[in-house]
């Protein structure tokens, strides 16, 4: 456990001695041809000698392969062998670096900007337009949507034991929450996406509101995203409803149907005052009036209180993460680490999102229903409702429950994954891109750090989710909303990420998980207790110790495995003991007798 990697205390140290590797050059070359295990449906397109300009180890000669799914690089003369395995979906931008006449070593090649906090740079020989074919291929296959090609998710032939598309069934989830009941009904009014084209087909709405009412409300809410139920508290019947901003506009329009509708939601559990959480800073909410939007005014909504949560918009978040990338890649800012980190404001944004969600969860625990919205109700709103639900409902903290939460609050309610991530799209500067979902997963990670026994899943799941958010290997995060997914037959023609995850569930399980059904989790949202997610944001830097799994967790897993092993052995012994014909036991016991003591020696505590 101890010294896996030895950090250098002395950058110009005469003391560096590198561990030598036994694989010979010859065997490396053999491996090189065979070591890319292609996914079913993956096809190799090109292979080429290239130099990878590693920001940590300098120029590395090797070979790059490009398939319809990934870019794979393997060094030929380094010790140990260095590989890169980058799904093309991760690539945000490909540029040519230097020209045929550029001078200087390795100044001619390709610059690749990735969506996952790293950049890659390759150099080629300057003669004969050597980079043209690889650039063209990369550009085409990394951005299939811009070239009218199909995304890899549609070509994948992967087969899994479980079909992840069955993880989330809206009716089942509503039933789990105890719906429908006498106050809340399920409506199929959006069956063909006529009420709202970015909402799912099945919605839970107040029993007292007729489908006609819903249509009237839809006319007053941005893009028809009317307030619908996301979650209901089993005991006190308080609900979290989500929606978009009301279309108040400059003139301060009112809509009686909308006002009555919110009051019906309030009445459903006898809440005295309905709390409306507007995720935006109040200035932004006011400014939105100019473009026809706005917020619920005091006069119009007398039984409601409006609280602004001061969370900034997608543009601010995009710039913040960009700044964070600047200080962690390729060189980690060391001399003024903390103030540099502060100046990205990333943790401050995380704090605002978490503390907003805490307020929502707290209101609900207190028995008061809430409405959450921002402008369109698909970014900040999704963050707040899903985090609050994670705090309130232990089901969402299980491996499968978390999948349901994502499918429900993010995917089905139309978080615009395609626009925010830019799957297969070459327009890297698109203003619609923003790491809202990454930020949400970061918030979840913060919660798992503060409540290490409360979640069934581990950090690896979160990182896997983020990796496949970009990879385009699975259909899960493709497209902006359900209606577009239906048109593109995502469920029948692509594989779900949850197929992969649930087929190897043990990989993603937190060994310390201790279910506590009724516990509401209130994380500390103070800056003092938020941490940068180093093992995600700085994972490409080999100098930062990678501790995706804490030593304690690692050890506990080993102990659990040993315990099971010995339990089995013990049970076998008990069986043979009870059977009268056990003469062979004395023979087999001699070698066995030594092995437990071997295990004990390194387990034994001297205290």
């Amino acid at each position: 456990m101890a010294s896996a990697s030895i950090p250098a205390y002395n950058s110009v140290s005469p003391l560096e001695n590198r561990s030598s590797q036994n694989a010979s050059r010859e065997s490396l070359k053999m491996e090189l041809l065979a070591d890319v295990t292609l996914l079913p449906g993956e096809e190799r397109i090109i292979g080429k000698d290239i130099i990878y300009m590693c920001p940590f180890n300098g120029a590395l000669k090797g070979k790059v392969f490009i398939t319809n799914y990934r870019l794979y690089f393997r060094s030929v003369d380094t010790d140990p062998v260095m590989t890169l395995n980058v799904p093309l979906g991760v690539i945000g931008r490909v540029e040519k670096m230097g020209g045929a006449s550029s001078r200087g070593e390795n100044s001619y090649g390709l610059d690749i900007t990735c969506k996952d906090m790293r950049n890659l740079r390759f150099a080629l020989k300057q003669e004969g337009h050597s980079r043209r074919d690889i650039f063209d291929i990369l550009f085409k296959y990394a951005f299939p949507v811009s070239h009218s090609l199909t995304m890899f998710a549609y070509m994948s032939q992967e087969k899994y034991e479980e079909n992840g598309w069955n993880v989330y069934k809206p009716m089942e989830e509503f039933r789990r929450q105890g719906l429908p009941n006498d106050k809340w009904r399920i409506t199929f009014i959006n069956q063909s996406y006529e009420l709202c084209d970015t909402y799912p087909t099945i919605l839970a709405v107040p029993f007292k509101a007729s489908d006609e009412d819903l249509k009237k409300v839809a006319s007053f809410r941005s893009r028809g995203r009317i307030p619908v139920l996301s979650w209901i508290h089993r005991e006190n019947q308080a609900v979290i409803c989500r929606c978009s901003q009301p279309l108040v506009g400059m003139s301060g329009k009112r809509n009686k149907d909308d006002e009555r509708y919110l009051d019906v939601i309030r009445e459903a559990n006898g809440t005295a005052k309905l709390t409306i959480y507007d995720a935006r800073p109040s200035v932004n909410a006011v400014a939105n009036k100019a473009t026809g939007g706005g917020y619920e005014g005091d006069d119009a909504y007398q039984n409601a209180e409006l609280v602004f949560l001061d969370i900034h918009n997608i543009h601010v978040m995009r710039e913040s993460l960009k700044k964070l990338k600047d200080i962690v890649f390729p060189i980690v800012e060391d001399s003024h680490w903390l103030s540099s980190l502060e100046s990205t404001h990333w943790l401050e944004h995380i704090k605002l999102v978490i503390s907003g969600a805490i307020q929502v969860a707290d209101k609900i625990s207190g028995g008061n229903s809430v409405i959450v919205h921002c402008s369109d109700g698909w970014d900040r709103t999704a963050q707040l409702t899903s985090l609050a639900m994670l705090m309130l409902d232990s089901h969402y903290r299980t491996l499968r429950g978390f999948q349901v939460l994502l499918e429900k609050e993010w995917i089905s309610f139309g978080h615009k994954f395609a626009s925010r991530i830019g799957h297969g799209d070459k327009n890297y500067a698109d203003q619609d891109r923003s790491p809202i979902f990454v930020q949400f997963i970061d918030c979840v990670w913060q919660m798992t750090k503060q409540f290490p026994t409360a979640f069934e899943f581990n950090e690896r799941l979160l990182i896997t989710i983020l990796d496949h958010l970009f990879s385009c290997r699975f259909g899960t995060f493709l497209y902006n909303c359900e209606s577009v997914r239906d048109t593109n037959e995502v469920r029948t023609k692509t594989v779900s990420l949850w197929s992969l995850v649930n087929s190897e569930a043990s990989t993603y399980q937190n060994p310390f998980y201790t279910p506590e059904c009724s516990r509401v989790l209130y994380p500390v949202a103070s800056m003092r207790h938020l941490e940068l997610w180093v093992s995600y944001y700085i994972r490409w830097n080999p100098r930062i110790r990678q501790q995706q799994q804490s030593p304690v967790e690692q050890r506990y897993m080993e102990l659990l495995a040993l315990r099971d092993e010995y339990l089995k052995k013990l049970e076998e012994l008990q069986l043979t003991d009870s059977s009268p014909n056990s003469s062979h036991l004395s023979n087999s016991s001699t070698p066995n007798a030594t092995s437990p003591t071997q295990h004990i020696t390194h387990l034994h505590t001297p205290l």
Partner: protein
């Protein structure tokens, strides 16, 4: 008034103006304000709950108080903050005694363990009297007047052995180096080096005559002595103070001889200087200096600048100030944390220790470490390096022995360094939180290697408190010489002995401990270091769920291990049959 053992008021009666006040309200972190009786004794403030349902009175060592702020309010509601120098005469103290409740005062006690308490005292005069009594008592500086000389707990006998081991015992335990190293008693009467213990380990070939000359060439007489022997490859760590080369580059043949004897047989040794090259150069102007290449040909110098003294103390003050900011909107917290520079001191210390350990373990060379006086950063780096290298120093007893050997016996001037902590208004003299910095570094090690240490965070927290104010004599005085002069070892109890009693052991052991023979190399990048919240946010942030989760995880691991042992035992029993 509560009875003994706390009523040693007799001997300190001239300092105590008011011994007892009723109806005092005590406010402290994480507790409801309580009303009760406050009593001042020679060494303690004792607060007894009026209802008496808290059977244990709240006890505060006056030594623990770093600063007092007081404010009084008279009949007119006119309030004023006094400076700590005393009450202003403008105040009419003779407020009619028939309405005592009309005037009152508040004393804020800022403690060296970073806790801040508040006492609301009815009656302005009482308040001022209490405050001045505390001020007077807390400024007593004679070691033998301090509480450890009066502390006589049940279950401990003064005749118990003081300390965990001695240089002689350490030497006896290292048989394999007896042919090259010897014990020297040249300092038996502390005349050669006042801050060294009577016995030290030096190269066999160097006689006491030579040592006398070397001592004259090293600041404070701190000639190079052995502090660690690395069994795996026979290399050693030596420590000393700076050589007194001065402006005219004085040499000392004996000093060169001694160091040559250390690396005898191998080609190279490293000298790690805890100052920058410039600082080492400048030290020559005031008579100090460094080992030049030409005179110490077998040695290679590496400079690793570590801050000390005032810079360190000010860093602690800034850090505590940032941590104590309890305003809800902690604005610019990360900048404030960075500006305190505390974490960069942690980083520098761990990096220097890592370098030292690297020289010894991976490069296979002996190392001499020193800075200026050899009593602060030198000890910090040498003890951290030992924790990295030596599994023996990572057990509870091993760690306490390390502290005793490398800090107490090695002459870290505890009394000077820990006279005041982060809140004190008095002008700084020799204060510096070097020991607290050590504890923080050890905490970082424990965080990065949660299974490798036999002791736990509560031990480090306890030590951080004891070093400033203690019932025990361990951290009193500045050197062994002073300890002998005051009869400390006969008249006080030893903290380390007490921590190893079975009842205490459990509190401070790491339940996850699984010893490893391997070196534990800490990561020192700023991204890998964290603020020691357990110490610095102890009184401001109540993140109870974090503590609970930590305990829950420990219990799971311990329980799993226990079941595993049971199975193994069971299997062995059956197989033996």
């Amino acid at each position: 008034m509560p009875e003994s053992p706390y009523t040693d008021a007799m001997e300190f009666s001239e300092h105590i103006k008011t011994g007892n006040v009723e109806d005092v309200v005590l406010r402290r972190p994480f507790h409801q304000p309580t009303k009760g009786t406050l009593c001042v004794t020679g060494h303690h403030l004792i607060f007894s709950d009026r209802d008496g349902h808290n059977s244990q009175p709240f006890l505060l060592l006056i030594r623990n108080i770093d600063a007092i702020d007081k404010s009084v309010e008279n009949l007119l509601g006119y309030s004023k903050l006094f400076s700590s120098t005393g009450p202003s005469q403008r105040f009419d103290i003779s407020v009619t005694p028939c309405v005592p409740s009309a005037s009152s005062g508040t004393i804020t006690l800022k403690c060296k363990d970073l806790c801040v308490l508040q006492l609301d005292i009815p009656g302005m005069e009482e308040c001022l009297n209490i405050a001045s009594s505390i001020e007077s008592l807390s400024s007593l500086e004679t070691a033998s007047e301090m509480y450890p000389f009066f502390h006589r707990p049940a279950g401990l006998v003064l005749q118990d052995k003081w300390g965990l081991s001695s240089t002689e015992q350490d030497y006896a335990g290292m048989k394999e180096l007896h042919d090259r190293w010897r014990l020297s008693y040249v300092n038996r009467d502390f005349s050669v080096c006042p801050s060294y213990p009577p016995a030290v380990i030096v190269p066999h070939s160097i006689d006491d005559e030579t040592l006398l000359k070397v001592a004259k060439f090293r600041q404070g007489g701190r000639f190079p002595v052995l502090c660690y022997h690395h069994e795996k490859n026979g290399m050693v760590i030596m420590r000393s103070s700076q050589p007194l080369t001065g402006t005219n580059k004085k040499r000392c043949k004996e000093d060169e001889l001694l160091l040559q004897a250390v690396i005898d047989g191998s080609d190279l040794g490293y000298i790690i200087d805890t100052r920058s090259p410039q600082q080492a150069q400048q030290a020559r102007m005031t008579g100090g200096g460094f080992e030049s290449k030409s005179n110490y040909s077998g040695w290679k110098r590496l400079n690793r600048q570590l801050e000390r003294g005032k810079v360190l103390q000010e860093s602690l003050i800034k850090l505590v100030e940032a941590c104590g900011d309890s305003s809800h909107n902690v604005d610019r917290w990360l900048s404030k944390l960075e500006n305190s520079k505390w974490l960069s001191h942690v980083q520098a210390a761990l990096a220097a220790a890592g370098l030292l350990a690297e020289c010894v373990e991976r490069d296979g060379h002996s190392v001499l470490i020193h800075g200026t006086e050899g009593t602060d950063t030198t000890l910090l780096v040498s003890s951290l390096a030992q924790l990295i290298l030596d599994p023996g120093s990572r057990t509870l007893a091993g760690f306490l022995s390390l502290l005793e050997r490398e800090w107490v016996q090695a002459g870290h001037p505890f009394q000077q360094r820990c006279a005041h902590s982060a809140y004190s208004h008095t002008r700084l003299r020799h204060e510096a939180p070097v020991f607290v910095l050590l504890l923080d570094c050890v905490w970082q090690l424990g965080r990065q290697f949660p299974l490798a240490m036999g002791f736990s965070e509560p031990l480090l927290l306890r030590l951080a408190k004891e070093v400033y104010a203690s019932d025990y004599g361990t951290f009193l005085c500045n050197s062994d010489q002073e300890r002998c002069a005051t009869g400390l070892k006969e008249r006080t109890h030893c903290l380390f002995q007490s921590l190893l009693r079975p009842s205490e052991r459990d509190l401070y052991s790491n339940p996850l401990f699984e010893p490893t023979e391997l070196a534990i190399w800490p990561c020192v990048q700023p991204q890998s270091l964290q603020l020691w919240k357990g110490l610095f946010l102890r009184w401001t942030d109540d993140a109870l769920h974090l503590k609970e989760a930590q305990e829950a995880i420990q219990n799971l691991v311990v329980e799993c291990r226990r079941t595993l042992y049971d199975y193994i035992e069971n299997i062995e029993d059956r197989e033996l049959k």
